[in-house]
Amino acid sequence: MNNNSLWSDAFYRLRRNKAAMFGGFILILLIVVAILAPWISPYSYSYQDLNLGASPPSYEHLLGTDVLGRDLLSRILYGARISLLVGFVATAVALVIGVSWGIVAGYVGGRVDSIMMRIVDVLYGLPFIIFIILLMVIFGRNLWLLFGAIGAVEWLTMARIVRGQVIGLKNQEFVLAAKAMGVSNFSMFRRHLLPNILGPIAVYATLTIPQVMLLEGFLSFLGLGIQPPMSSWGTLIKDGVESMEEYSWLLIYPGITFTITLFALNFFGDGLRDALDPKTSDN
């Protein structure tokens, strides 16, 4: 294994990890399905067959229909769009805030660093879930606010990780050399520091997505997240719970979908971490 870059090395290790590859496969499948939902789902998500009402899985409706006669499979496929969208966008928001915060704190150092990290410490200790609920109550339940609010909560760990990495890098020769050549701060971040910390960032981002999706599901379950007629997996589970005594499939299929997705993301994230940092793979 000579002459191989970090990434091809990591990819080789990742490919040998069956659980991670399986997780990655499920993930790609879900993303494809979510994008193609309008074309592959058997019915529209709002199409109602009122004569049918709630019906168990059958040949026409593979996963059955809900109380309003809507096809459950179609609703799960459309729900994938919202759930995955929240997962990716809110993680991206967290990524942007956390990485910038961490790079600046780590690179500038000194007083700026200690103030910035003290802020992170303080925010860590607060019950953020309550503030998200508060924001949703005050400003209404809109999707973009949800992205922003969740992203604004999840960036803290990212900032800590990035800062630690940058502190490790900033006294190395290539950084000092770049500095001596008069590279500006911004291109120092972008060209020299960022590429070297992509590994940990990628790992943590993958592990943040399932957390974000859980948070969205939690809010939607309480009725404070995604609002009808849009539906995420969280709202489907909420609807399923309301009618689970008679129509248990309405809870079980969305539940299975959600759980498998979280499994896939966690396995893939763990695999990625082991692949990029073989030292930790023992624990």
Partner: protein
């Protein structure tokens, strides 16, 4: 040790002050007043209500008023339940939520530490794989799905346990506590397995074995003290998570605790209740984080001696 304690407390006070201030003004900029929701109120009644709750004063006056009330432990009246104060409602809900959280933590600690330690000792055997796979399930199945599933299995299909309430029917506390505790049992199992594995490879464990201690003594007296530090540090943040979990569990099982009050207040736009509980929750979480930090400092001899 004591110095750290006072330093942290001194830091917590301005933080809570900031939380109270930010929440207060956030609620002030919220659209709509507390009384213009479902039914129309005549202008005269509205005027009287606003006067009664001192809502005509300037924001600044109301703020000073509220903060001085806060110092005396008075969180103001509830806008939705006339005649009841927010402090009163917190006082009724809190014991229920505490009891639920206590059982959940107990279940989580017993199940988690036990299976985690066994898994670490019997590494790469079935006693390792099976509990750790179950733990993975516990982490991936969210509380809001686990609760209904348990209800479906034990309450509706097997009909062995009550599906809602708290302290009214025998056994109605079992399902809520299990639901809330299971996710934490899973995390704790993983943390204690990792912590134990790290400690078990260290020299002082070899020394303990070499001097002829029984395996039981080595594990209980020497390894667990260091190996469980991650679990102790996790407990502080876990309290914050338990709180969020209690929102869900109390809603599913219709338990009259603080979590359900909060969710209901959020739906009813009962602003004083939201404000009061937010401040209260924050204070509680800051306190528990402090406790767990101090406990892990105290457990770790290196940092204990250094301070």
């Amino acid at each position: 040790m004591l110095a750290i304690f006072f330093k942290r407390i001194l830091l917590a006070i301005p933080v809570l002050f900031a939380v109270a201030t930010i929440t207060f003004f956030l609620i002030k900029i919220a659209p709509g007043g507390p009384f213009d929701a479902d039914r129309a109120v005549s202008p005269q009644v509205l005027k009287n209500l606003n006067e009664a709750y001192n809502l005509n004063a300037s924001n600044w006056e109301q703020y000073v008023d509220y903060m001085s009330g806060l110092l005396r432990g008075d969180l103001g009246p509830s806008f939705r339940f006339p005649g009841r104060s927010v402090s009163e409602m917190i006082a009724t809900g809190l014991p229920v939520t505490f009891e639920l959280a206590f059982y959940a933590i107990l279940i989580a600690l017993v199940m988690g530490v036990f299976s985690g330690v066994i898994a670490a000792l019997k590494r790469n055997t079935f006693l390792d794989f099976i509990p750790m796979s179950i733990a993975m399930i516990g982490i991936c199945v969210p509380t809001f799905l686990m609760g209904p599933l348990l209800v479906l299995i034990f309450g509706i299909n097997l009909e062995v346990l009550p599906v809602s309430g708290w302290g009214q029917l025998p056994g109605d506390k079992i399902l809520p506590s299990l639901t809330l505790g299971f996710a934490y049992a899973a995390y704790i199992a993983r943390l204690s397995r990792g912590g134990m594995l790290e400690v078990l490879n260290q020299d002082f464990i070899r020394t303990a074995r070499a001097k002829g201690l029984t395996e039981r003594m080595v594990v209980i007296k020497h390894a667990m003290q260091g190996g469980l530090i991650p679990v102790v540090s996790f407990l502080g943040p876990a309290i914050a998570g338990l709180l969020a979990g209690s929102f869900v569990v109390e809603t599913i099982f219709q338990i009259p605790g603080l979590g359900r009050f909060y969710v209901e207040a959020a739906f009813n736009r009962d602003y004083t209740m939201i404000l009061g509980t937010t401040i209260f929750f924050s204070a509680m979480i800051v306190f528990f984080n402090l406790m767990s930090d101090l406990a892990s400092l105290w457990l770790n001899p290196r940092s204990r001696d250094a301070s």
